[in-house]
């Protein structure tokens, strides 16, 4: 055997010399029987595959939908440092704000504003280190917020123009949201130092 394999064509010769199995693994009737079983199993298998394919497609659609939706929300939030490091400090109100659906109702919007306000109130008035750019934005927003609050008080007192009152409330919500975002960014910058 050893000598045989040293010749170039020896392996070919040896392999071709191997005899076939004398009989098939099973006879004709067993083959027919198995074929009949396959015929029954095949439609069930294809139905299972179709169901699995549909499930995978549904999961993919949901995953794509979830991936596409959040960036419009997240884009509002500046993320100068990895947020995971600050996740413990981030108030639940802000986390809720980032994942809120854009088409949420007025009640949700009011509740969110209220939570953001509470969070803003819990922050120290002035950070230890002040950067002029963000600070100017914070001051500007706070000034505008105070002005809108005055106008709102006057409008509520007069109760003459409900549409104007609604517009002011809407503007106030946006201002609070913007202020929360800027303060949050400020916090992140502080943490990264």
């Amino acid at each position: 055997m050893q000598r045989d394999l040293e010749q170039p064509a020896a392996l070919t010769h040896l392999l071709r010399e191997l005899p076939d199995a004398a009989v098939p693994p099973y006879g004709w009737y067993e083959f027919k029987h198995r074929a009949a079983q396959h015929a029954v199993v095949r439609p069930a298998r294809s139905a299972t595959r179709a169901l699995a394919a549909l499930t995978v497609m549904a999961v993919l659609i949901v995953a794509v939908d979830l991936r596409v939706d959040p960036p419009t929300q997240q884009a509002r939030w500046p993320q100068p440092v990895p947020r995971a490091a600050l996740a413990t400090r981030e108030p639940s109100a802000v986390r809720g704000a980032t994942t809120a659906a854009p088409g949420a109702g007025v009640a949700f919007s009011a509740a969110r504003t209220e939570m953001l306000e509470r969070w803003l109130a819990s922050l120290p008035d002035n950070p230890a280190l002040v950067q002029v750019g963000p600070r100017a934005a914070v001051t500007g927003l706070e000034d505008r917020l105070a002005q809108v609050d005055d106008l709102l008080t006057a409008e509520r007192f007069e109760q003459a123009r409900p549409a104007h009152l609604l517009a002011l409330q809407q503007e106030r919500r946006l201002l609070v949201s913007s202020l929360a975002q800027v303060r949050y960014a400020e916090e992140l910058v502080d943490e990264s130092r």
Binding site: L15, R16, E17, P19, D20, A21, P24, Y26
Partner: protein
């Protein structure tokens, strides 16, 4: 070894089988099945799986028999079906994952017992054991090239790989088989047999 591609079938028998006459189909099965089963078992190396692929192959063969256009001998046509089914299995990710988990170079591999054809003795068993030490891909390449007479281009086409893949697989398999027989005296006796 009677190669599947060399089997010639009587025209009248073939016509009867194509017409769906069961006695002719049975005769055809008994003529072609042993060589088909041997080929599949050589290529796949796993007895239970080889039986499944054999069943699939023969079912496809009888389903498509009315479409047979006599462009090649019937045996070669059936061989093509069998090889395609086997390579589908060998190329599947499941099979690749299984191969990663299994030891390749074990003298008394678990598959040896399955691969050895009942009734073999002496040198033939040695050759079977040597073949069993090859990876399924290498074994398939060796078998297709050395026994079935495929060219490197045809093997590359069947595997969807380059010609150099086929050549390198064959060269490495030759080397491995050569080493196997060179070190035969140092190996322990095969307890599986």
């Amino acid at each position: 070894m009677r190669r599947l591609g060399d089997i010639v079938v009587d025209e009248a028998l073939l016509e009867d089988a194509r017409a769906g006459r069961e006695p002719a189909q049975r005769a055809l099965y008994e003529t072609l099945a042993p060589a088909t089963a041997s080929l599949i078992r050589r290529l796949v190396g796993h007895r239970a799986l080889a039986e499944d692929i054999f069943q699939d192959t023969m079912m496809i063969f009888f389903e498509r028999l009315p479409e047979f256009r006599r462009e090649a001998p019937l045996g070669a046509w059936l061989r093509r079906i069998a090889v395609t089914r086997c390579l589908m299995y060998l190329r599947s990710p499941w099979q690749r994952a299984r191969l990663c988990l299994e030891p390749v170079d074990c003298g008394v591999a678990a598959e040896v017992a399955a691969l050895i054809t009942p009734g073999y003795t002496g040198e033939l068993i040695d050759l079977e054991r040597a073949l069993a030490t090859l990876t399924p891909t290498a074994r398939a390449v060796v078998w297709m090239y050395e026994v079935e007479g495929y060219s490197h281009e045809e093997i590359a086409h069947e595997f969807g790989r380059s010609v150099s893949f086929s050549k390198s697989q064959l060269a490495r398999a030759h080397q491995r088989l050569h080493n196997w027989f060179m070190s035969a005296e140092q190996r322990p006796t095969c307890s599986v047999i």
